[in-house]
Symmetry: C2
Subunit: 385 residues, 2 copies
Amino acid sequence: MHKPDTTNGTAPPFAAVTSEDDTVLVRWADGAESLFHCIWLRDHCPSGLHPSTRERLWDWGTIDPGIRANSTCLNASDELEISWTDGHVSRFASDYLHRRRYDDEARRDRLPPLDLWSSDSIRRRLPEADYHAVMSDDASLLDYHLTVRNTGFVIMRNVPIRDWVCEEVARRTAFTRETNFGRNFEVISRPNPNNQAYTHDALLAHTDLANREMPPGVQFLHCLEFGATGGESLLVDGFHAAEQLRAVDPQAWEVLTRVGLPFRFHDADCDVRWKGTPIALDADGRYHEVRYNPGLGAALDVPATQVKQVYRALHAFAARLKDPANVLQFKLQAGDMMVFNNRRVLHGRAAFDPNTGPRKLQGCYVDLDEWLSRIRVLTGQHHQD
Amino acid sequence: MHKPDTTNGTAPPFAAVTSEDDTVLVRWADGAESLFHCIWLRDHCPSGLHPSTRERLWDWGTIDPGIRANSTCLNASDELEISWTDGHVSRFASDYLHRRRYDDEARRDRLPPLDLWSSDSIRRRLPEADYHAVMSDDASLLDYHLTVRNTGFVIMRNVPIRDWVCEEVARRTAFTRETNFGRNFEVISRPNPNNQAYTHDALLAHTDLANREMPPGVQFLHCLEFGATGGESLLVDGFHAAEQLRAVDPQAWEVLTRVGLPFRFHDADCDVRWKGTPIALDADGRYHEVRYNPGLGAALDVPATQVKQVYRALHAFAARLKDPANVLQFKLQAGDMMVFNNRRVLHGRAAFDPNTGPRKLQGCYVDLDEWLSRIRVLTGQHHQD
């Protein structure tokens, strides 16, 4: 069972309100208290939303950051009513304000869970989904979205062996992300490859398109044929490896969250380059991305004083990412599809012998913005202002 | 004239080489010197590139960061030849190494120029391009790409009045970026709008889709009809405004480069949210993005201790962005197309009266990765390893 993503809609009513200096203290009927700053309240006045678009109508230059409350009260409609020094009067419903409270505990409670894994821990509870359930049932669709968000991947079973089913599954979420490889791609052994994926060599675990400012989010990789010897799939939880690194070598971890490593892909038609940190946190300080693709590593041009510490940090991180205890290895069957967060879960494969049989995968991407949006729509959060 | 983007291919030959501890010092025939670290050189050995894909063949865990040179010399082929403590021998051509040197001056010289502007300064030298030249001539195509990269926008003239010409122009660069608004969009006054752009209200200068992890890069906005009174276009150089803010209020500037501001767009089909810093620098410490869209501002949930400083900083930045000296205002004509970096140049419009005539724009996006890639291909950099 996943933790529900929405509040149950029964926010406690207001019990009391007091104002001091530039803050307003609200006590809720459940006894808890929330502090709000006057400028925050004035800026979040519900009258500032366009009635149809629900967009804000004023910018951050409109209101004096030093604004104060002339008076505060709980009015006859059970609203918090504030008269401001700029002459405006605001009225807040309790659920509107309760949902937006920003004490540390409330902020922490709003963060989604994060499920880190090693090879051993995940092997015993392999995240799976059924193609038919995901395609026909919104509860299964939501469950699979939450699993990929929290755990980073799902193996989908019973996928029809038909070209570009991956795109049909992707469209259950949203539109796909196009790249220089097109709107979708086929992974087979090719002559004169422009990319290691199109050989039959082993592929070290990596994240795709690390050379882009924003690498694609969720990857769909559908196995249509697999008769070749070898070619086992590898998956590694990059966030787990990063957290291990932080524990054993915090200095290396810090370097990899700060220094942009250059990546590049170039062929006859494009030359796409980006310098990104191998480990990236989001605005809430949570793991957001592991960017790791040795094949696309470009000439390192950090300041000379940082060269040695960057190599030491990369060496330490590489050891964590290749640690067999972290590498989940398994063989895809025709009719399986891996769906994984390419910004977190590294994927790779063992070498295979193309003379022993075919190996054909098809894939596409959907960005994380769309993945998380689908979760909000399936749980009704998109109806909340 | 733009500064050329490529070296002229005549890197100086090696003149001398010495090795000490974990570094190698190269003297070039022009008298300059470059220091390289042993681990850097061993990692960049040209033998580590796949012959066809040109991808790296080893990861950062393969080579001991403490590696040293057993011997260094300039061999009979004018290469730098190094015998390593791990038994490997590397040979470097001078141009390969010269192009990758990483002293501070070389790193600085590789950065593209940045052309900041105010309304007054840009009005006297409005960046323009001719549709027919861009569509038919690669030199004009390159020039227009460099202008958008360096200055942030171009007004393209003589664009045919035909549906979705914007996409034809975009495809001179690459594929387009799809969003929840589709692969392209039309800006007209609509009933029941889901977005302020689809009203006839004034639009404060903003960057599009600030609610996405990576907002679209270059925006194409083609004017097909414009008979309405009002509706003048606004453009603001966000990097110039940010640089002004840094000069007058460095504390506010620092806050806006560090604190993630929440943005959100939601309608019946999606709910896309992201917390991004209003000002973002890239790995080289240069301006990369201004993210500013008051209409999409969502509930601010930074830690309580930061609320007041965030509002003060936003108030100061808003003043710079609305300063008339920074706002270029002009009226598009049918047959004009604005092409601008949506990660830097804010755009907006004055209100217009839909009863006085039509106003119809069509647009689409191409991401910055593709914009910069096209510049590299047009200048031949994609052929260089």
